[in-house]
Every structure is written in structure tokens, then in C-alpha cells.
Symmetry: C2
Subunit: 789 residues, 2 copies
């Protein structure tokens, strides 16, 4: 242990220090030690982060917030690597195969429950949104037609604004004051969680509550947002909750599924929950599995795929059973109304249209990249200036009012009238149209965005004219971009599809004017292609989107055009910037690890990347020392070492590695007083003891020990991970990355030639090296790490 | 280096031994050393396999062949782990980012080519089979109706037998004499390759030739086999061939794509090729990706998924363009005839039918398990007794004759006549029917199995009676089971679907008799469910099968019933035995690693699993010594170590690990004479030199060195992998497994506490531990390793 670190403890724990500390070497000889940093560490209590060595002071806060080049130090990793300590081996021996089988059956059962509950929640959200929106738009439509003759159109306008603002106000107050993590779609957060980053509060029950109520409020409030993203996030929370058999927030422990209480198991369930969420949101079971695969889960294996698939299927099944009953066709699971975006009859397409689809895909990629850029700028502005909670609420309400205003202006200014009976709209609004006609734009606005997508997909040709579609595209494009990222729970799938469907129809009108004789130009087909292009341009997912769009329109003949469009959209968009989710993740400084190490980092070595000095523990360690260590540092893992032999001529500063112990384990040990001197607790100590406290461990400040207890010792060997993966200091960054990513590690001790610990690599040390891609050119850049964002 | 191994070299290389060998310790002190094995090694030249320590003599050869508990020693692993030696770093430095971008573009281009060529080959096979079968069955049908009136039915019978035997004879001679690996569907072999096992000759051009011609022969020959499996294998071979830019067999090097010549890159391309093969066989691009994912690729990542998807899409596209032209609708890519199994119009199903689907799924699982068991028994019989090549050819011809005989008997004995015009069969055969009617069974037999599946899926109700269907199911079930595994190239997808479709229709007839008023009992729907159940019961794939069946019938409303059926089939089947592919893989003793380590192996340590003693090399090693080592051993990887210091008091037998060098690298070094004493070669030495000789390196016996050269030295450091992943001897089997599997390793050196090599773990050491599951009970068993199967 280096002198400088020791001196820190000496200053503050003088009286408790056991005498054996006297034997430690007083000078250090390892190259990697950096005394300056340790001094900093002794000044600020919380700076001993694993990233402290490369910590960069962010001089001007306002400049740096909203930068894409800073990693936040506040995100920790999940422990995906199982700690195979003696307790676990004991459990294995005692419980045997029967327990394995039992656990496996329980696992399937939990996936069943996840699918069911996710779908039931989705049904509640679906039905409430549908019912409330129907009431709202029926009143508005009636009000417009009632006051238009009296010239008092300001009354329905105010009514509309009011109907928008009230739910949005409720939703945004919930989000801003109760649980800010519930804002937005939740997909970026779920993606981070599945990637192994611990996003604080992302799978709590409070988040679920705010998310569910919030999404109803924002969709009923008429915001340009959808319910799909929040449903996926809800599925993830439900999975996390059910699998743990307890809720720490509600202080309720059902004492079931206790053996699944660790990060590894929980994350597997969450990947199933996310898939079930997609399945419930779109009625797309295969799409759900592919979403989980494409967007998240790093450590995929066949048995997890299987269970995820099972959860998705159960979710779709439950959803269809409930919704078919709601729509008045109970038991008829092939009821066409169950297709979220309406069932397409198959239509023809010709080889000659494929270039057109590629062009539309590229347009979608361009528009998507633009949309992402606008949203990125808005988000940065929000991060810098819209910081107080009340301001966030006001912004949400402002957007609600602007939405109503723009909608009203559009239908007021563009008098696109069509004869009644041609359009399946529920509340035809006459406005200035002659009798027997209705205002087209009112019918788009006076329904949920999802219903509007269905209209654009399936309305017969000539339902809209070019002017109204064009105006709608422009307004909705910017509105959606402003709305996404507000302090309200809503996703971007549906508004993006809506924008794309509208310009897709516009394309079909243009084509029809050029080639009036071609009968294959069906506007619905082009609406679908446009929607796919726009969505692909924004989110840049391809395989899962293809399948989701196929599954929620019930048409498979269209697979090839969809895929081609999506690929074109992705390639075009990737030329300019990243997908919106990745941009948001970068903005919040989450150390998300990419799938592969950046190229050309084979000449960067682990010794350059690692954090050091390392705080190590001995196999048998003094209680007071551990207590002080936990108070002084924020490290989450400590290598356990053999103390270096002091009678040797050459003194090595750190000892030979024996194992790795986590902060959470130390907290439990201290809390349960599993000290060598108090032997009677020992017999009851099983792996259960540690799982019971998962996931919210005590804070170190909550643990109080007597002065006598502080002189006791702890034998760490039964608790520590006795064979952590390690790499040599001369290992390249790419190999280190692959090991870390491939096994889902949280801590990777770096050893020298004789297996002595000289450093530690954590997620942030690796996430710092990022490929920098701009207009086809490549490079590797090193990100800064800040504790202030 | 242990004494015993040294003595081996001493015996044979007395004169060339450099003097520094004198310094080696003459006694060994490491516990893991096992002198007996080394003695064996010195006796038999080829026994020094990495698995030698646990090698078990198979006493009675005949008893053991066909056992599921033996691993064959003949399978080596692929090197998926990139060797980051100095040459590669040099290359990185010199070529920079431009090269990365260039390589990436080339990669996409290769995936494009793979998709195109796979589809084109599939088209050729498709069209040839269709044309030849048409000629054959037209003649047969005509001949039957011509001779039935004359009472000379033996003439069409002999004709049929002849038409069957001739193509089958050609195909089976090709398979038995030219390339035996081309037998069967090829899916198990591709699965092994994707899993990282080097299956000899599996991706050679000769295999492709035999496979393509063989599959045409066997389908035209009327065997109960399909062309889908072989097409997938063909896709894999095409991918391997194109990506390497050369064919060693044809002695043609196009000097392109030279930077992709290593196992890692090649395997990525092969996974794309397999997906393209599925896409071409079924017209199922998404199914192709999922197949690659579910069945094979262990080290999945998003960028590979993307490229695989691209190859699948290109493949489907090319296929559709060519086939739409062939079917007379050029450019119309939504032409319904492009659906491999015919397009389903959507039909309704009710909640009440789901239990029925589950029951049918279970029946499929049962029948599938039975089918697998029968095929397993037949395969074992073949392995034991049908060993000479001529016998294999005779068996194939026998099956061809039996097929014709059974078909003839069925249509002769069961006089199921239907009025003409109701069935879309091309060549209605009248046989004993009255004028204006045709024989139903003749119409099933007188077409390719694929066309029969289409008939059963889409023929109107009442096309078949229960007796003809029942008889057909029984005959075809056993026939297919006998056919699969013959010395001919054919797959099992189509015959299995056909069996299932037939009994599915039978179920619908039964239901119709019980509930004559229910109008939802469409026989085509039940044929599809039956086909899915049977196929699911045999191969036990679920997600990819769901999507493949959806994509090749063009119907998505049916996703949920299909999934439920497939899950029921898999669960039922898994209760009895494993999927047919896994059974075949086990029978051939391939050390396939499962997705997860077996349960409860956390108390088995690396030191128990590893092979030792280990043959190590020094950083600067004598040429003669290396030459002898390569001649004496069959190891494929050698740890490079610092020789232990002899002036220390305590002598450690093996040195501290410095790196790992492969046999193939040593062969190139020896071949190119990259010796310290011959310096002029050095400047031209780049990573290219090593890639150029990939994948067929010289044999050690082909390398000849002068006596003087044998006294030279080689500095191994620029060539070796300087930071191989290693684990401590105390690491558990499960952790070792995860590291090995997660990173796709081939050699894993085991080190002691001070980083000195004490053993080596290879794939076989890990594959030996297998979960043993029987009727719901679990256990871990240790397999034997034999060099004789």
C-alpha cells in the first residue's frame, strides 16, 4: 500500500490503526504510483473515484454542459460477473441439482408473470388514453362546429388549449417533482441498463408510477408524443420488480424469488421486460426479442433469448385477449383491429419502385439527422438554462399550448374539405366546409397521434391534398422535435412515424401527378415507406424496426422494401450524426461501452488506461481500517492481496492478488458484524445474507461500530471473489476491452509480471476511448470525466 | 521444461542441441507434472495431444462407436482471438485509419457478393430441380395411365425405380467417393464451424460442388429429402470462398481481400453466408439472421448482425428477381409464387383453438423425439456396419428403390379418387379412377416434396381422405427417418414439414367430423400447425423457425399460434432427447461448447481440468529444437516463457509466461527462414506473410532445413501473441468456461500465483464436462476423448 494513501488514513484514524500497519514499507517503488493525485484525494473526501487520475476540472461549467465529450462520474456498473465465493460454493453443495431445477422453473414462471403484467399495464394505458381522448376530441369537435357559425372560434381554441394544458400540467409536475428519470421515452435509460450501467432509480416502482400516469397525461394532453417508449420502460421496471419479489420503496418483501437478488439475474429479467414492453406496445413478439437484442443486451445467450421470447409471446397474447374483448370481439385473436397500426392488405410493388424506396430512405435519413440535430440543440439548451423544476413544468405547458395553437391555425387557414363518408374519422369537423363535407386537418388533429398514423396508412387515395399534408409535415416535424425531451413521459416512435407517413403520402401525390396512369402508387404504401424512413433516420435501428413494422401492420410481403428503406435511412443518417438515443446517452455522460473496441487502440496498454494507485485490503483485515476506507473512498471494489513481504530485499508496493471484494459486500459484513472475534454469527452466514440486502445497501454513514469492535478483524476470504479475471499491464486496450465487454465486468485488476496488483480498470476507463467518426473519417478521441454533470 | 520431455528431444536431436539446454533443471518440482504421460508421448508420435492426460483407451472399438459420450480428438478449434503481435501493430501504424475504412468497405462488398452468389446458386439448384422433376413426373404419370389399361403396371413401377436410382446413384457416388463431408444437410457442420470448431474440409470448394450436384440428384431422385439444408451449407462455403479471394484447391489466388485471411474474419463471413443460405432457401431474410443467431454464432455483435442482415436481404432480393423472371413475372417482386411454401391468405383463429395448437405442438414434439430416436439408431448402425463406400452407395440406391416401391404400393392400394379440376396438381394421374377423376396419392407422390407441402397447405378442403393421409404419414415418417443421413446431400426440413402437414390435415378432418358446423377449421391452417409442430419436434429451433415459416408463407397473423405450437413441440421433445442436429454432433464427437457452463461446476478448478505437462518455448529459441518439437508433438499452441532462473534456490519448472505462439506461425517462420542469423529476410516480414499461407499451412514434414540452419536461433517475440488471456490454477471451471466461450479462445494457459505456466486448457478440456439431462433430472458427466472416431 503506497505511503501517500496510508498517510491519509493515518491522519484520520490514528487511534484505531492496528499495529501491523507499522510493518508496511515507508517508500514506494512502483512506477505507476502518482503521489499528487493522492494528495488531492486527501483533501476532498469524495475524489478518490476510480477515475481520479484523469479527472479534469471543468473550468467553465456553462460551456461544458451539453458537451458530447464528457463522461459523468456518477454512473456505476452492474455486477454481471458472479462472485463465486465460498458461501456460494457452500450453497451449491448443500442445495444441489434440485435447486438448479427449481430456480429454472421459477425463472420461466417469472418471465410468464412479466409478460402478463406488462401487457395488462399496457392495456390499462391503452384503454384510458383511448377513452379520455375520445371524450376530449368529441367535445372539441362539437365545440368548433357550434361556435364557428357564431364567429366565436376563440372559445374552442381556448377550450383546446385548456384540455391540453391540464393533463400536461399534471404529468409534468409528476415528472419534474416526483421522478425526473421518468421523463422522455425511457429507451435510452433501458439501453444503458441492459448494457450494464447502473442508472440511478431507473427500475424503481416510483418511476413506474410516474411513467404510467405521465404517459397517459401527455398523450391525452395532445403532445406530439407516443406511448410506446414509456411502455418499454414500464416493462423493464415491472420485470425488475417481479423478479426481486420485493419492493424496497414500498417496504414490502414477499420473501419469494430471493435467489434472484443480484445484478446478473435482475438484468436478464429486465431484458425480458423490455422485450415484453415492445411486444405490448406494438403487438410484436418477434420484434420485441430483436429490440432487446439490437438495442441492449450485451451478453446474449440462447437460453435467455428463449425466455425473452416467451415473455414477449405471453405479453402479446395477454394484450390481444384483453383488447379483443375491449373492441367487442372477445376471443377472436385474429381480429384485425388488434394490429397497432392497422392491417395492410398485401399490395404489389415492382422492381422499378426499389430505387424510389432507396431515395425515400435517404430522405428519411436526412430528415432524421436534421431532427436529431434540432433535438440535440434543444436538449443542450434545456440542460443549460431550463434547470429549475417549475421552469420545466412551464415549458411543458407552453408546448401544450403551442400544439393547440398550431393545430388550430392549420385547420383554420387551410380549408381542405372532403365529402363525408370517405374518411373513417370518428368526429368529422365541418368548420368552414360546406354541408356534407369535413375539414381534413381537423380530422388529423382531433385524434391521438397513433390514430392519425392509422389514418394516413389506410385512408383511401385523395383523402388529403398536398398543401395540408405539407403544412402538417413542417409543423409536426418541429413540434415533435421540441416535445421530445420535455419534462413529460412520452416517446418518439409515433410522432416520427406520423411525420414520415405524412410526407410519404405527399410523395405519392407527387408521383400520381407525374405518372397518373400507374396503378401501383397506393398512398398507403408510400405512407408506410415514409414512416419507416423517418423513424429509421431518427433511431437508426434496422432489424428490429423492420420486424416491428411488419408485425404491427400485419403484412409480410412488404419486408424487402421496408428493409431497403431502413438501410438507406440508416446509412444516410449515420453520415451526419448518431441515432437520437445514442446522442442523448452521450449528452448525459453515460459510460456506455460500444460493441467493439475502437480501431487502432492496440498500441495503448492497460498500464496507460488503468487507474492507480489502488486501495487494497489484506486477507485478514482490521475492522476499523475497513470502516475508514469505506468512509474515505468511493471505490466499489477492492483487490484483496497478500501483503508484500517486508524482509525481502526488493519491496513491491502492492501485494500479490488473492481476490476481489466489493464495497457492498464489505457493508453487509460490517452491518452483520461478521468479525473473527464474534464467532456465533458465523454459522448462519450464507449467501442469502448478502442477497437479502440487495439492491439498496446501507450507507457507510449508517453503520456504527463500538471502539472495541473496530479493533476486531475480518477474514475476507470466504466472502471475496477468489479468482477475479485479471490482465497483465502490457495487455492492449483492445484486448482489455474485449475481456471487459465479453464478460460484463465491473472491476478488472491489472497485474504485473509476478501477479501483483498495480492498477484497476473500470468501465469509465474504457468508455473514455471512443471512435470519432465524422463524414466518413475515423479517429479515436479520449473523453473527459467530470463529476459535475 | 520437464525432464521427460527434454529427454525426448535429446534422443532425436542430439547433435543439434544448443549448449544452453545444459542449464535446464534436471528434476522437476511442480505438482502438475505427470511423467507417465510424457513417456507415452515419447512412444507414439501423435499422442502428445493437449488432451493426452485424460486420454482413455477405447478398448472395444465396435462397442464405442455410436456412443454419445465420446469426444473425438480430431477436431481443432478456430483462432477467433486475434493475435496482436508486433507485426500487426506495425501494420496498424503504417496503414492507419484509411486502411480500417477500406477494410470495412471491402467487408460490406464481400457480404454483398455472398448474398448474390448464394442466391444465384440457389436459383440454379431450384430451377434444375424443378425442370428435371417435371420431365420425370410427367413421364411417369403418362406411363401409369398408359399401362394401367393394359394391366402392365410393373412397367411404370420399374420406370419409377429407375428414374429414382440413376440420379441417386450419381449423387451418392459423388458423396461417398469424392467428398463424404457433403452428406446430409450440412447444418450440423455449419453449426460446429460457427461455434468455433474446425470441421475438416467443411468450407472447401469441392464440398460445394458435391453438395450442389448431390442435392439436385437426391431431390430429382425422389428421396424424402429437401434442398434447404444443403443450400445453407452452400451459402457458408460460398462465403468462405469469396472472403478469402483465393481457392487453395483450384490453386487460384485473386490477390484480393488478402487482409481477411484469418479464422476470425472468415468465420464472420461464414455466418453471413449461412444466413444468406437460409434467406435463399426460404426467401426469409429475417429468418436467416435469426437462424445464424440461434444456431450458431457465439460471438455476436451489432455490426456483424447488420452485415449478416445485409447479406440475407441481398440474397432474398437476388432470388426474387431471378425467380420472378423464371416464373414469367419479371420485376414483380411481390409475385405470390415467390413464397416458397405458397402464400396464405389470413384466416381467423379463436382463443378456443389455442389449447388445440398446444396439443398439436406436443404431438409434434413426441413424434419428433421418436423420429430423432429412430434416426439416431439408424445412424449408429451406419457408423458401425455401413463403413465401406460401396455399401453406402448401395444403401442410397436401396432407399431410392424402396421409396418408389412404397409410393407405388400406396397409390395402387388406396384408391382415393377426386374429381379433376379441384386440385392444382400438374399431372393428374387417373390410375383406377373413373374418367374425370384423378388419384390423390399419385398427385402427392408425382411431384417434389416441396410441391407436396404446398399442396397440403393450400389445397381446398376434401382434397384428401383420411385413409390416404394416414397411410402417407406413416410411410413418409419412416422413409424420411431412413433417408436422413444417407450418403447423399439432402436436408430434413421439407420431408419433416411434409409429414407434419399431412397429419395436420388429418387432424382437421377429424375435427370436422366432430364439429361439422365450425367454419374456422380450415385444413390448410391445421396443415401449417402440424408442419410447424413436427419440424419443431425434430430440430427444436423456435425463434428462427417461427420467422422462417411466417416469411415463407407470407402470413403474419398466424405468428402467435405458430409460436405456441413450436414452444409446445420443443418442450415436449426436450423431455425425451435432444434436437437431431445436436444428436448428430454428439455422435460425431465434436467438442461443441454449449452456451453456458454446466451447472454446479464451480468446485472444479482449472488445475483439475487443464492438460499438462506443457511444452514451452523460450523467447529466443533454437531452430532445430523448434523443428523437432513440431515433429514430435501435435500441439497447436506453445506458451513462450522466460526460462526459469537456475541460480535461484527454488527451481520452478516452467518459466514465467511471455506470450503464446501457434504451430501455424512457427511453420511459416521455419518455411520463410526468419532466423536471427539471416537478417535480410527481416525487412520484408509483415503480417501479410502469415496471412498469405492461410488456411493450409505446410506440414512440418515438408519443411527441410540444412544442418547449419538448425543451429540458428529465432526471436519469437515479434510473432507471438504478447498478452494471451490466462487464468490462475484456482479459477473455477465455470469462470474458465465463460472466459473461453465469451472470447472464442483456442488456447488458455493456466498460471500459478507467480504467473508461471503450469498447464493449458483447450476446447476439448472444457467440452468434456457436459450437462446430462434425462426426463427432467440433471447431472454433470465427463466425456471420454478418443482419437479413433
Amino acid at each position: 500500500m503506497p505511503e501517500s494513501i496510508n498517510s491519509v488514513y493515518t491522519d484520520e484514524t490514528e487511534h484505531q490503526r492496528p499495529t501491523r500497519f507499522q510493518n508496511l514499507p515507508s517508500t514506494s517503488s512502483v512506477n505507476y504510483e502518482d503521489t499528487d493525485d493522492s494528495v488531492i484525494a486527501s483533501n476532498e473526501e469524495t475524489t478518490l473515484l476510480s477515475s481520479a487520475r484523469r479527472r479534469v476540472e471543468v473550468n467553465n461549467e456553462k460551456v461544458d454542459i451539453g458537451s458530447l465529450n464528457i463522461l459523468s462520474a456518477k454512473y456505476e456498473s452492474l455486477d454481471y460477473d458472479t462472485c463465486e465465493n465460498h458461501l456460494l460454493l457452500d450453497e451449491d453443495r448443500k442445495k444441489g441439482y434440485r435447486f438448479i431445477v427449481k430456480k429454472n422453473i421459477a425463472r420461466w414462471f417469472i418471465f410468464l408473470l412479466i409478460g402478463m403484467f406488462t401487457a395488462l399495464l399496457a392495456c390499462i394505458i391503452d384503454i384510458l388514453i383511448e377513452e379520455l381522448s375520445e371524450i376530449k376530441y368529441a367535445k372539441l369537435s362539437k365545440s368548433v362546429d357550434q361556435y364557428v357559425t357564431q364567429g366565436k372560434l376563440y372559445i374552442p381554441y381556448f377550450l383546446w388549449a385548456l384540455y391540453n394544458v391540464i393533463p400536461v400540467l399534471i404529468g409534468s409536475i409528476l415528472v419534474a417533482y416526483v421522478e425526473p428519470i421518468a421523463a422522455g421515452s425511457g429507451i435510452p435509460q433501458v439501453k444503458c441498463y441492459l448494457n450494464g450501467v447502473k442508472v440511478p432509480r431507473v427500475v424503481r416502482i416510483r418511476t413506474l408510477f410516474v411513467k404510467s400516469v405521465g404517459v397517459i397525461c401527455s398523450v391525452v394532453g395532445g403532445l406530439a408524443g407516443g406511448k410506446e417508449g414509456p411502455m418499454i420502460h414500464s416493462g423493464a421496471v415491472i420485470a425488475a420488480g417481479i423478479s426481486q419479489g420485493k419492493s424496497t420503496s414500498l417496504k414490502k418483501d414477499f420473501k419469494i424469488f430471493r435467489y434472484f437478488r443480484d445484478d446478473h439475474e435482475k438484468r436478464d429479467f429486465v431484458s425480458g421486460g423490455a422485450a415484453a414492453g415492445v411486444a405490448a406496445a406494438f403487438g410484436a413478439p418477434v420484434g420485441g426479442v430483436l429490440f432487446s437484442l439490437e438495442e441492449g443486451t450485451s451478453f446474449w445467450n440462447q437460453s435467455l433469448t428463449w425466455k425473452t421470447f416467451f415473455a414477449s409471446v405471453i405479453s402479446t397474447f395477454t394484450l390481444n385477449v384483453v383488447l379483443s374483448a375491449y373492441h367487442g370481439a372477445p376471443g377472436n385473436l385474429s381480429y384485425p383491429g388488434l394490429f397497432t397500426l392497422g392491417q395492410y392488405q398485401s399490395f404489389n410493388y415492382s422492381l422499378l419502385e426499389l430505387p424510389l424506396f432507396i431515395i425515400m430512405g435517404s430522405i428519411g435519413g436526412l430528415l432524421g439527422a436534421l431532427w436529431n440535430h434540432i433535438n440535440y440543440k434543444i436538449t443542450v439548451f434545456r440542460m443549460r438554462y431550463i434547470r429549475p423544476r417549475w421552469l420545466k413544468v412551464i415549458e411543458a405547458c407552453l408546448v401544450a399550448i403551442v400544439t393547440a395553437t398550431l393545430g388550430f391555425l392549420l385547420m383554420f387557414l387551410i380549408n381542405d374539405c372532403r365529402p363525408l363518408g370517405q374518411d373513417p374519422t370518428k368526429y368529422p369537423t365541418q368548420l368552414y366546409c360546406t354541408d356534407g363535407e369535413y375539414n381534413v386537418l381537423a380530422s388529423i388533429w382531433f385524434q391521438t397521434p397513433e390514430a392519425s398514423v392509422r389514418s394516413l396508412f389506410h385512408d383511401p387515395p385523395n383523402t388529403h391534398n398536398a398543401l395540408s399534408l405539407g403544412a402538417f409535415v413542417i409543423v409536426y416535424f418541429f413540434l415533435a422535435s421540441w416535445t421530445f425531451g420535455l419534462a413529460s413521459s412520452n416517446g418518439l416512435f409515433i410522432p416520427t412515424l406520423l411525420t414520415g407517413a405524412a410526407w410519404g403520402r405527399l410523395v405519392s401525390i407527387g408521383l400520381y401527378n407525374i405518372f397518373p396512369d400507374l396503378n401501383i402508387i397506393h398512398p398507403g404504401k408510400y405512407a408506410l415507406i415514409g414512416a419507416a424512413a423517418q423513424l429509421g433516420g431518427v433511431v437508426r435501428m434496422t432489424i428490429s424496426l423492420t420486424v416491428i413494422l411488419m408485425e404491427c401492420t400485419g403484412n409480410i410481403t412488404f419486408a424487402l422494401p421496408l428493409i431497403i428503406t431502413l438501410i438507406a435511412a440508416k446509412w444516410t443518417g449515420d453520415f451526419f450524426n448518431e441515432g437520437i438515443y445514442d446522442t442523448l446517452i452521450q449528452l448525459s455522460g453515460v459510460p456506455l461501452l460500444p460493441w467493439e473496441p475502437p480501431p487502432l487502440v492496440r498500441n495503448i496498454y492497460a498500464s496507460e488506461v488503468m487507474s492507480h494507485p489502488v486501495v487494497t485490503l489484506k486477507c485478514v483485515e482490521n475492522v476499523g481500517h475497513i470502516l475508514e476506507l469505506l468512509k474515505l473512498t468511493t471505490y466499489n471494489g477492492f483487490p484483496v492481496v497478500d501483503p508484500p513481504l517486508t524482509d525481502q530485499k526488493e519491496v513491491t508496493t502492492y501485494g500479490r492478488i488473492r481476490g476481489l471484494i466489493l464495497r457492498s459486500q464489505l457493508l453487509v459484513i460490517l452491518n452483520k458484524k461478521l468479525f473473527n472475534e464474534i464467532s456465533d454469527e458465523w454459522e448462519h452466514t450464507t449467501a442469502e445474507v448478502f442477497r437479502d440486502q440487495y439492491p439498496r445497501y446501507l450507507e457507510i454513514s449508517e453503520i456504527s461500530l463500538t471502539e472495541e469492535e473496530k479493533t476486531y478483524f475480518i477474514d475476507l476470504r470466504p466472502f471475496m471473489n477468489p479468482s477475479p479475471y485479471t490482465v497483465l499491464h502490457s495487455t492492449s486496450l483492445s484486448r482489455t476491452f474485449r475481456l471487459f465487454r465479453g464478460l460484463g465486468l465491473r472491476h478488472l485488476p491489472i497485474v504485473n509480471d509476478t501477479n501483483e496488483v498495480i492498477g484497476m480498470i473500470t468501465r469509465k476507463d474504457l468508455a473514455r476511448y471512443r471512435v470519432w467518426k465524422h463524414q466518413g473519417r475515423l479517429g479515436v478521441e479520449e473523453l473527459l470525466i467530470s463529476k459535475e454533470i
